[in-house]
Symmetry: C2
DNA sequence: CGTGTTGCTGTAACCGCTTTCAGCGACCAT
DNA sequence: ATGGTCGCTGAAAGCGGTTACAGCAACACG
């Protein structure tokens, strides 16, 4: 049974029609008379014909797939991002490549290689140097996800300045001083912006500048490590603003494990509003960002840009503070939601 | 400027050689005289020629990419799995497609579609029905990841029976009774096997059969929910065996949040040995499985199988109990490691 | 009846690369 | 001198689709 999958030409011969007609029927384009369509369909059905993606890709000059590039994949954030992206990609029949560089050496090359196989690429902030990004962008349409936009590379990101509102809340509403920030501003544009907003809020509130950030990663385990750094010494900060929820959760676990009370001994806030944030005790005060929507918007931008050189535009999705107990509030408050501006 | 990327023919014309020679030079196969190679290389360099993956794919009849299919992506488990898989795939220059079905309707179709674009596919247990899997497998080489093997579909998995050893430890070494199991045996083959091993250990220890498992998902948030279910009532279990670490961690957080002491009031164990397991207080007793290796082995199997129909074999990676404080042990013990059997 | 339309179909030229096979000097052994 | 490798090169035939273009019959209109 050495019968491989049938090709258009074989189907055409069997159905006694031309390849053009088979193609027209199989992809539903152009004019085909009912009886002809019927005949071709029957043969296609009988022989289980499915057009080869390779042949199609070559003829149409498009791969039919898009890629996402991340520094890593750990945590619910990436999972949500991918989910949002994938759902939009699926909608247009594109499949999704994923590359997690893990800051591997030679990641740049891998991204280039991948660029040869896709119609568009979403690169997460903090993954590639500007230079590497530019090189990729000249091969394939790129949109930056959670990063700064560049020349011809649009960006989709969330409004990180809201962490400033949270900081103001801590500073003025609760009257806390000695706030610490956990997260590495050099690690990703997101953290950079959050750190800047954190500092700006201090200036705006006219309190002395915060100390240097505790430069750690964004995983739960980093939060636990942060607890060791921050909560052991005698000058424990009154509140800790974490660059994301995972870190905040880790910190919370570390604090509780040390017998500290949150928020009485130390207040904690995060960023993202992941599911766990509202499940822990005390519940986590944070900033909600529409992660899945972020992924979906990125995919849409990439796919639409795929057609023609449409208006290259950035998108900034709105975020909102979510005040729960971990900051010292007793009743949940959510600030009025703000419209999405693109 | 309307200059697209150069093609083989253009390069050939410019370098005054045949396309065959350009192809030979660019892919480093066959015999080419030094001066000819030099000449071609120079033109390739100057014009920035990079062979089109589409053309190549069609000619070689291989896509140059492999896929992984999961039910979801949340948690460090999948992240590690992907990392292991990706590193092996990269090694042979293949890029990685990822599809998370999220139990979406129509996922079956999407997997089929994806199957048309890749040279091989790893399907995680609990993602597809046997029937759907079979349909996919007749289109493209498949290996099951963390699931049961089938007809022509090899499987790579970890030894789940070790959770039985852990159960025995709880039952006999610590003398606990009233153990609960958290995890949905119908959700994935992994959980099925763990639940079976849990039950088997009860039989072996000649203690009465455990009550029905608490059927929840495998995320941290599910663990928190489990805490609500299990720890509130008057007949609280003495120990809880969770299907994975994430759930155990969530349960631990829930228990601590309720003011319970672990392991004094309730002992908790997990499965995976994720980084957080050794960072929480008390540290989590668990079963270590080589997740990354699982991913890497899967990739290797897929890629080697890609060549010819080599011996279709299963692989079972060894796991080992890691006894820490959450089960009631006071000093860390790791059972002697067992060799890997494939 | 001549002349457009309209609707459908088929031929053949791509898309960009790989690879077989034949050809052609140069070199070696007879 | 002759036949047989050996090393290198190029022409051309795919790989499996899509689609521009031409052709043809049927039909409507003046």
């Amino acid at each position: 049974m050495g019968n491989r999958r049938p090709t258009v030409r074989e189907i055409a011969k069997i159905a006694q029609v031309s390849v053009a007609t088979v193609s027209r029927v199989s992809r539903g384009t152009g004019q085909v008379s009912p009886e002809m369509r019927e005949r071709v369909l029957r043969v296609i059905e009988e022989y289980g014909y499915r057009p080869s993606q390779m042949g199609r890709a070559l003829a149409e000059q498009k791969h039919g797939s898009v890629a996402m590039v991340f520094p890593g994949l750990a945590g619910p954030y990436f999972s949500e991002l991918i989910q949002g992206f994938e759902s939009e990609a699926m909608a247009v029949g594109a499949s999704v490549h994923i590359l997690a560089t893990h800051h591997r050496a030679g990641a740049g090359e891998q991204v280039l290689t991948m660029a040869e196989r896709v119609d568009g690429m979403a690169v997460h902030g903090g993954t590639l140097s500007d230079d590497a990004l530019r090189r990729v962008a000249e091969r394939v349409p790129v949109v930056t996800l959670a990063g700064r936009s560049m020349d011809g590379v649009p960006a989709v990101r969330a409004d990180n300045t809201t962490i400033g509102e949270l900081t103001r809340h801590l500073l003025l509403d609760h009257g806390y001083r000695r706030l610490a920030f956990v997260g590495n501003p050099d690690g990703s544009p997101d953290v950079t912006e959050r750190w800047e907003a954190f500092k700006a809020a201090h200036r705006a509130a006219k309190v002395s500048a915060p100390r240097e950030p505790l430069r750690l990663g964004l995983q739960q385990s980093d939060g636990v490590i942060a607890a060791g750094e921050l909560l052991e010494g005698r000058r424990r900060p009154r509140a800790v603003v974490c660059a994301n929820d995972e870190t905040a959760l880790g910190l919370l676990i570390g604090a509780l494990g040390r017998g500290l009370s949150v928020p009485a001994d130390v207040a904690i806030t995060g960023f993202d509003d992941v599911p766990m944030a509202s499940l822990v005790q005390p519940r986590l005060t944070t900033v909600r960002q529409p992660i899945r929507e972020l992924g979906a918007t990125t995919a849409r931008l990439l796919i639409s840009g795929l057609g023609g050189p449409g208006a290259v535009m950035d998108a900034v999705l709105a975020t909102e503070p979510v005040l729960r107990e971990s900051c010292g509030c007793t009743t949940t408050r959510r600030s009025e939601s703000k419209g999405e501006r693109t």
